[in-house]
């Protein structure tokens, strides 16, 4: 791939062949070299073929090989100019994302009650193949239509949880009739569950604040214990994407579209099939917003029970909740003109800058919190959105995988990884010990470097660094 370095942390592939726009990757020299090691850069070029794509096919600093889109891929298509929506550009785990809570605990208090807190979380957080902790058809139906707002109305958490959630926890345009009975059967019972793989619940401590003003606005202070949840729409979202991808192969032919990878199947946003997918996607997204909300509620109750106190006393208010697998219709400047774009973020986080009307009033002066989890056992970061983001208001979503799962398992086994983490003072409660090896810190890139590139590329600005002290894994 003939990528040219066009800036300190910018690499560009000129449009060639069927590419409609250039490919543009934000990376340091060492992160770019890692992206060259697999097929991620070819995927950046493939995404540039999508009809209606504008600007560039972007990739964030945590780019790695995905299926269809690279992980870390961003594509915005012009809705009025035949721009497409691609379910593969959202991914199977629709609205997978990250939620951060700030507790009233200090690290010392956590350490004193570590066994009880980790024990309660271990016992109460449903994960692995298990079903969710929250059942009931009436709640599920309402969740599909209204997301986290339905869970609040049902008595879980409170209105403040919605203020600090992207989309206020409700994706507009949802239609439960747009998802299959099979999707509901497969995932409906999993509401309030974590899943497995790279999903986690982590206890952290704020170990560095680099932007005190923004940290204060976000409710973060040095030494504060935080809790981070990473998960998505579970089997329900997986099935929605599976169903629509299967149909879109044929639909694409009807619209005269061809793409270099079947996984990039797409149709115009303004088509019967495109509108149907977006309604189904919003429905699955509502499940995901509510899923993280309900997991947070369970975690609050677990911590309160461990300390023998009330949920109100442990705090654990929401800092923010972001999605990193979603397509959204947003207004952005293309050249000098404001356009309605369908922005696909596949393993990439929306990062609205200061003043954006979608932000809650108290965060509007500083910008949107952007959550960038590191790998298990390494730091995570809170960033803030900045003005003039060069990638349609998008930043990285994590450290990004470096090593395949099979290689990770050969490097160290699950028990060794668990011992390594415990030796660093990180309490680990795995659903399956053998799965730990695949998510070991050495299987991921350096999150500090990813965040540094985000800052230098003008994607987002660092606010605070979070150090892990406890991990609950699927």
């Amino acid at each position: 791939m003939d990528f040219q370095r066009t800036g300190e942390v910018t690499w560009e592939l000129a449009a060639e062949g069927g590419m409609r726009v250039p490919g543009r990757v934000f990376a340091s020299a060492s992160l770019f070299a890692k992206a060259e090691a697999d097929r991620a850069l070819q995927q950046v070029a493939n995404v540039a073929h999508l009809p209606g794509i504008v600007g560039a096919s972007f990739a964030m600093p945590d780019i790695h090989w995905g299926y269809g889109f690279p992980i870390g891929g961003v594509a915005a298509t012009d809705v009025a100019a035949g721009g497409v929506v691609s379910p593969g550009g959202v991914g199977f785990d629709i609205c997978c994302g990250v939620r951060l809570l700030a507790s009233a605990l200090t690290e010392e208090e956590f350490r004193r009650h570590r066994c009880e807190i980790m024990g309660e979380l271990d016992a109460r957080i449903p994960r692995g193949l298990g079903k969710g902790a929250v059942a009931g058809k009436r709640l599920l139906d309402d969740v599909l239509e209204r997301g986290a707002a339905a869970a609040v109305d049902a008595g879980f958490g409170g209105p403040a949880d919605l203020e600090r959630c992207e989309e206020r926890g409700t994706s507009a345009g949802a239609d439960p009739g747009a998802i299959s009975a099979r999707a509901l059967e497969r995932g409906g019972g999993q509401l309030g569950s974590l899943g497995a793989g790279n999903h986690f619940l982590e206890i952290q401590v704020v170990d560095r604040v680099v932007d005190p003003e923004a940290a204060a606005a976000f409710g973060l202070a040095p030494g504060m214990v935080t809790l981070m949840i990473h998960c998505g729409s579970r089997g329900l979202g997986h099935q929605v994407c599976t169903d629509y991808l299967a149909d879109m192969g044929r639909a694409m032919g009807r619209h005269g579209i061809s793409v270099p990878d079947r996984q990039l199947a797409c149709v115009p946003v303004r088509s019967k099939e495109g509108e149907g997918y977006l309604r189904a996607m919003a429905t699955a997204a509502n499940f995901a917003w509510a899923n993280r909300h309900l997991l947070a509620h369970t975690a609050r109750e677990a911590v309160a029970a461990a300390l023998g106190t009330s949920v109100a006393k442990v705090g654990m208010g929401l800092v923010f909740d972001v999605a990193h697998n979603l397509a959204k219709v947003e207004e952005h400047l293309v050249g000098k003109h404001s356009r309605r774009l369908c922005v696909h973020r596949k393993g990439a986080t929306r990062a609205f800058g200061p003043g954006h009307p979608a932000l809650p009033p108290d965060l509007r002066p500083v910008g949107q919190p952007v959550l960038v989890p590191g790998s298990m056992g390494t730091a995570s970061w809170v960033l803030r959105g900045v003005a003039d983001n060069p990638a349609f208001a998008t930043a990285a979503h994590g450290a990004g995988r470096l090593m395949s799962r099979s290689t990770a398992k050969k490097t160290r086994d699950g028990r060794e990884v668990m011992r390594d983490l415990e030796a660093e003072g990180i309490a680990v409660r795995p659903g399956s010990v053998s799965l730990l090896a695949e998510e070991a810190p050495f299987a991921y890139k350096d999150v500090d470097e990813v965040v540094d590139v985000c800052a230098r590329a003008g994607l987002a600005a660092p606010v605070a660094r979070l150090r892990p002290i406890g991990v609950v894994k699927g």
Partner: protein, 137 residues
């Protein structure tokens, strides 16, 4: 000969399954999909599952077959270990599978979320058929 082999992918997991016939390659791909998650050597085949699938190309049919099994297994809480495929005219197949409850089993790999079309290939090779597929995990 192993029924499938794993190939390296940075974030997800890919397999290549072989068979003397296309049916056997499809059966072995299904075996591989579940064997990545559970150690199937200890799973009894006590509950049966029937599925039908359709696809305009052999690759589309493979994804439809594996996706149908994945959904069925998750809905019924099963680890599937035995597979049978009967190809029908018009790009369709009728398949059966058997396995037993998955809930209490130790996971040896992350659960498969979905079957992708990326890098998908089904074709004849010397001595039989080969199916190549990447799973989102």
């Amino acid at each position: 000969m192993p029924r499938y082999r794993v190939f390296s992918h940075t974030a997800d997991v890919g397999i290549v399954a072989e068979g003397a016939t296309v049916e056997e390659a499809f059966e072995n791909a299904a075996f591989g999909m579940f064997d990545l998650v559970f150690d199937l050597s200890g799973v009894p085949a006590t509950e049966a599952v029937e599925v039908e699938a359709a696809g305009e190309t052999p690759g589309e049919l493979l994804v439809a077959w594996l996706s149908a099994l994945l959904a069925e297994a998750e809905i019924r809480g099963l680890a599937l270990c035995r597979f049978r495929v009967e190809m029908l005219p018009g790009g369709r197949l009728r398949g059966s599978a058997a396995g037993s409850a998955s809930a209490a089993r130790e996971l040896r790999g992350p659960p498969v979320k979905a079957v992708t079309y990326h890098d998908l290939a089904v074709g004849e090779v010397p001595g039989g058929w080969e199916a190549r597929v990447i799973f989102d995990v």
